[in-house]
Symmetry: C2
Subunit: 147 residues, 2 copies
Amino acid sequence: MNIGDASDRSGLPAKTIRYYEDIGLLKPGRAENGYRDYSSSDVHRLKFLQRSRSLGFSVEECRQLLSLYGDTARESADVKAMAEVKLGEVDRKIAELIELRGVLQHLVHNCHGDARPDCPILDDLSGKAPRDPSPAEAAEHSSPSKH
Amino acid sequence: MNIGDASDRSGLPAKTIRYYEDIGLLKPGRAENGYRDYSSSDVHRLKFLQRSRSLGFSVEECRQLLSLYGDTARESADVKAMAEVKLGEVDRKIAELIELRGVLQHLVHNCHGDARPDCPILDDLSGKAPRDPSPAEAAEHSSPSKH
DNA sequence: CTTGACCTTCCAGTTGCTGGAAGCCTTACG
DNA sequence: CGTAAGGCTTCCAGCAACTGGAAGGTCAAG
C-alpha cells in the first residue's frame, strides 16, 4: 500500500509518516518503483502512534510504548506507570489553565471595552493597577519558558 | 542597569531578554563598555512581556499588546477582544484536556498493572480492544500535529 | 502524448527559547 | 600588580514535532 493510503487509514499526514520513519519509529518496505510499501502491520503501528500522540504522549514516550507493545515479556505495570505519570501531567496542566482562565476572565470582566483609551487589561499587564492577589500571583515569577 | 539586574527585576532569563531584543520587542541603550543598559521603562516593558507571556499570549500577540499599550489613541475594545479570544482558546484547551484525562483514567483504571504481560492500555492504543465509544473517539481522527 | 495526481528526496522554516563556546570587562583578593 | 571569578558580549547550534516547498520521477486516464 502506498503512503497516501497509509495516511488515509492511519489518520496521519504523509509528511508525518515519513518523519516517523526518519526518526526510526517505522521501517516500511519499498516497492520496485521506489515507493514506500506499507503492510497492514505498518498501518497498525501508525494508528497506534496516532492514538498515543493524540493522548498526549511524546514521540519518545510513543517509542517506549511501542517497544513495550512488541515485548511479549513486558509487565503491564510498566505501561500503567507511564499512563499514570501522563495522567498526573494532564491534571497539572488542567489546573494551570483553570487558574489562567480565572485571571483572563477577571481582566475581560473589568474592561469596559469601548472606545475609551483607558484599559484595565493593559494596566494589569503593565503592573500598574492595584490588583487583588489572585492565584496567578503565585505563578508570576515562574519562567514563562516551559513550553 | 545591566542585563543581570533587568533579569532579576523582570523575572525573565537574560537569554530571553536578548532574544526579545533580537526579535524587536525592545531596544535598550548601550553603555560605553558595550553592555546593554536598561532603563526602568525597559524593565517595565519586560515585566509586561513576562506577565502577558505567562497569561498565554504568544510573542506576536505580546507585540500587538505592546503597540496597543503605547498607542494613546487605542480603544480598550481592541484589547478586550484579544483577551476574549485568548479566553476562548483557554476554554477549548481545558475541555480537550479534560476529555483526554477521562480516556487516560479509563485506561489506568482498567489495567491490572501487575507482572502479567496482558495490558488493556496497549490493547486500547493498538485499537484491538472493544472500547466503549468515549468522547475521545470524536477526536480520534483529528491530526495530533496541532502543537 | 499529455495532463494531473501521486510519489521521491532534500532543505528550510516554524515557536520560543536554551546551551555552549570564545572572548572582552570588571571587581575583589592577596 | 597579577589573577581568578563572575558578568557581559557575539554567534552558532539545537530542542520538539512537524510543515512547506522545490525539483524531479512514476503512473493511470483520456
